[in-house]
């Protein structure tokens, strides 16, 4: 969930009333706008916005807009309108179609930017690039001092070493290739372009570089400083709608600090798209039934109170018949996909804690899954036999599973994107984890008797996922006089107690001493093995006492396989 940093005074000024200083009191208010103040550091508030789909709330202006509604300073829809077409045209190169096809732009006049506002603006840009923009792969934002730009603007392409400019905050000219290879932003976002032959570039009529989207602005045009100015906003990206949405969020934020919004015209030369005018502030209408709201919430709200709650949430709403409300959805609420989204807004503005919880009287009988019932029986027997249950990670690595067990590699379920080589596959047997456990406890008093029951993952083409997930039981004992008979005693007792009989067949395993190991059979099915670990393996795990263990597949034992 996004966490944003806003300046208290800036927020207070935008909301227009004195806000409480106390954290609990602030949170009381913020709970109406899905926010939770995590910390206050001087003038900076760190606020978690509990909605991953409402970028309009990830800006201080958007939060203030929502708070003004919740606090009844201002009711209903806030109208945003385009004052006029600015006359600025953006010409899009057709070669961008497969690189970064969409652009949307706007101009906001007389934006009053003090140092606080400049900082807020930078934060908004990077927050949207990171989250809604998916680290700039989906959308990225550029802001410019409009006075310095000479339209028309060309959204074009260049080869990596064709163009050079001074990147934002720099002093030296760098080629696009150099920016990608050595500039911090190039290193961070270069992956988006590296595979392409041509890279996007934004220039004005005098061939001055605005930016190298989505990597970095130019230092000449792409720097915003304090003062009252006209701002040119540009958003590029891979999806038409998301580019428009992002532009809208940024434009509205600036509009709340400025005077007029001017539009721009985008000229595409793709087959399916020719011309576009941005930004767009399209509101939508929706019908909402009172009975639907009450049915979802379990409340008995009348139509008037619902309309009031909707207005607090900045919708426009009016009654169209006895049970129906027609409402206008603000242009920035592109998260609203279904009436249910509006119902949540009603509930939030009503106050979750004003709704009386009710335990539903449903006639159901609880039960455990059979799988766990049997695992629990096996656990009970092992505990009764004096073994300590342990819990290990199910992620492992081949070295642990095989090499350190003196076994040949097997094919296992491997992870494409492991965090570390230590955990890059799922274990297909448990004893290596138990050996690791013993190894970490070699200074703890002996004898040690431990067991684990958990899933094991085996490749199996007959399963829809290609993996059979069985439940294994493994146990080991270690002490100076540990021997095969001791463990066979345990095996006998285990099978006696679960009401099964088993046979042992001598077998050879890389990890066990020859002649002291065997396969465990139940109804002639191989269900596991028992054996005394060879000294090579003990040395691998730095153990100085004999270890005997067995491992069985409980699904096979209980005939579930």
């Amino acid at each position: 969930m996004p966490t944003i940093i806003v300046l208290f005074n800036d927020l207070q000024r935008l909301v227009g009333i004195q806000l409480p200083q106390d954290l609990d009191d602030l949170n009381e208010i913020f709970s109406f706008v899905k926010g939770e103040v995590e910390s206050i550091d001087g003038d900076e508030l760190s606020i978690e916005i509990k909605d991953g789909n409402r970028p309009d709330l990830w800006t201080v202006e958007g939060l203030a807009r929502e708070l003004r509604g919740a606090l009844r300073i201002e009711d209903g829809l806030k109208e945003y309108a385009i004052e006029a077409y600015s006359g600025v045209e953006i010409l899009v190169d057709s070669r961008l179609k497969n690189i970064r096809p969409y652009i949307a732009c706007s101009i906001i006049t007389n934006v009053k930017l003090n140092s606080e506002a400049v900082r807020e603006l930078m934060r908004l840009q990077s927050k949207l690039d990171l989250t809604y923009g998916r680290k700039r792969t989906r959308t990225s934002i550029g802001l410019y001092n409009y006075d310095l730009i000479t339209p028309p603007i060309r959204y074009s392409v260049a080869k990596p070493d064709e163009i050079s400019f001074v990147p934002l905050g720099g002093v030296k000219e760098l080629s696009l290739k150099e920016i990608i290879n050595i500039h911090p932003k190039g290193l961070e976002y270069g992956y988006i372009l590296r595979e392409k032959k041509h890279w996007p570039i934004l220039l004005d009529a005098k061939n001055k570089i605005l930016s190298f989207p989505p990597i970095i602005n130019s230092n000449d045009l792409g720097r915003i400083s304090e003062g009252e100015r006209d701002i040119f906003v540009e958003v590029t990206g891979m999806g038409y709608q998301t580019v428009l949405n992002t532009l809208m969020i940024v434009t509205l934020s600036l509009a709340d600090r400025g005077e007029k919004i001017l539009s721009t015209r985008i000229h595409y030369s793709y087959d399916d798209r020719t011309q576009d005018e941005t930004p767009r502030f399209k509101t939508n209408n929706m019908m909402l039934n009172v009975s639907y709201v009450n049915q979802i919430l379990g409340l008995n709200l009348n139509i008037q109170s619902i309309i009031e709650l909707l207005k607090k949430a900045r919708y426009d709403a009016y009654q169209t018949d006895r049970d129906t409300i027609t409402l206008t959805i603000p242009c920035y609420r592109f998260d609203v996909m279904h009436p249910i989204d509006i119902v949540e807004d009603i509930a939030i503005k009503y106050g979750y804690n004003n709704i009386e919880p009710r335990w539903p009287q449903l006639n159901t009988f609880g039960s455990l899954s059979n799988l766990n019932v049997e695992s629990n029986l096996a656990r009970e027997v092992m505990v009764g036999l004096g073994f300590q249950e342990v819990l290990n990670f199910s992620m492992s690595n081949k070295s642990k599973l095989y090499k350190k067990m003196n076994l040949k590699d097997r094919n296992v379920v491997e992870i494409s994107n492991p965090m570390t080589l230590n955990y890059n596959c799922l274990r297909d047997w448990l004893i290596p984890s138990l050996m690791e456990f013993l190894s970490k406890n070699s200074s703890v008093e002996y004898p040690q008797r431990i067991f684990e029951i958990d899933s094991c993952y085996l490749l199996d083409k007959t399963k829809p996922t290609g993996v059979r997930e069985g439940t294994n039981l493994a146990c080991v004992c270690i002490h100076s006089k540990a021997n095969f008979s001791e463990m066979k005693t345990v095996l006998d007792a285990f099978f006696l107690n679960i009401g099964k009989t088993y046979d042992l067949r001598e077998a050879i395993f890389g990890c066990f001493i020859d002649g002291r190991a065997g396969t465990i059979l139940v109804d002639k099915v191989n269900v596991g093995f028992i054996g005394e670990l060879i000294p090579e393996v003990l040395e691998e795990w730095k153990l100085e006492n004999p270890v005997i263990g067995f491992e069985i597949d409980l699904d096979k034992v209980f005939g579930k396989y």
Binding site: R138, I296, H338, T364, G384
Partner: protein, 504 residues
Amino acid sequence: MAELHQLEKSLLIALKDGKKINLHTLLKKTKLPYASVARASVWLSSKGYTKIEEVKKSFIKLDSEGKKILKKGLPERILVEAVLKNGGRTLVDIVSTLTELSKDELNVALGWGRRKEWLNFSRENGKMFIIVKEKPAKGIDEQLIEQLSKGSITIDSLTSQQILSLNVLMKRPKIIYRHEDVDRFITLTKLGRTVAKQVKEVGEEISQLSPELIKSGKWRDIRFRKYDIKAPVAKIWAGKKQPYLRFLDDMKQKLVSLGFTEMVGPTVEFMFFNCDALYMPQDHPAREIHDIYYIKSPSHGDLSSYTSLINNVKATHENGWETNSKGWGYSFSLEATKRLILRSQGTALSARMLVDAKLEIPGKYFSIARCYRPDVIDRTHLTEFNHVEGIVLGADLTFKDLLGILKMFAIETAGADKVRFKPDYFPFTEPSVELSAYKADSGWLEFGGAGMFRPEVTLPLGINVPVIAWGLGIDRIFMMKSGISDIRDIFSHDLNWLRSQKVI
């Protein structure tokens, strides 16, 4: 009669004849070690069975010169025997050459030899000669020195002649050393005599009762060696369930008792159940490699048995399908649904349950599912962990019921005193809520999240009733309960810690 210790009994038997005996004698009679006799005699005396008398006595023993004399003899004897060897007559002037005696010792020897009349002087031709007639008999003083070779003796035990002799010896330097000491005498009191009469002769002592002793009846003739029941013994360790798993067992028990049925399902999961069916768009950040483990091989699985459901889900993502939603508005990839991953959220099991033939409506379901996310393991993060999640289905369920379920969980599973709800967000629920539970000792704790499945989740899977989805953050409850602050300790590799965990 108070219970008597074995040692006390032995002493009482030795004292039975009523004589006053000292510790030394008692040691001989009981054949017990000194410490045992000393201890038991103090016990008996404190019970009033015996009287201990302490008598001060004078003892004598050999001093340094005395020990020398014991080996070589008195100087006067050394002298007379040397003269005898020389024919019984020696010039005084040369007598020093006959022995190793020093000049002082020679003077002492001449003085005492003459006083004891073992030698005479005679002047012949103006020269002095020493005359010894015969070897003198062993004197009383010499006998006393020999007697002292065995250790100290009391002056009381000496004869009057010996005492005279001792007095003489005492005048000579460093031959005899005299000192005072205390001897303890023990006698039975009147009460002690009565008790002693009742004490039976002590029989054979046995440490281990054996089947042979029981069967033969010999146990009647033996007595059991008393144990020091406070002495430390070897440690053993109980077989126990792993404490976190035991905690999960309790959790399951509580959920079952609230009418919930357990769901189980695969860990290696389709992206379809983990995300698509939950209306998470295919470019959702939680589906990226930073948030989900992808399986290397096989990378894709077989979802052919769910084809029609997948088509519903595809249409819902693209345009809302029949759900009255406008959808996400992008082009949905069927191939992406088959991508195999490690389950990243327990809600995948709820999605599977919704399409399971065994689903009952109304119904309550839960799962405790191992889930995986690419995280660096540290004090607060694990790369695999357990989600406690579930769903409740019923035709008349409302948001009120959702809050009621959460409140019940907070009270039943976390022992909360009160609860608080806040808006929250999950891609698959609307409305969504966060649950905070308050306990007097720990304050407010974020304890769970819940919501009502979006119509875009339920309708494509063929569910036409409201579905409440919930999840509980129980790891923090366990950590508080067991006093651990490092989340890795849930998978503890510390056997001492596991052994020391209480079962209550």
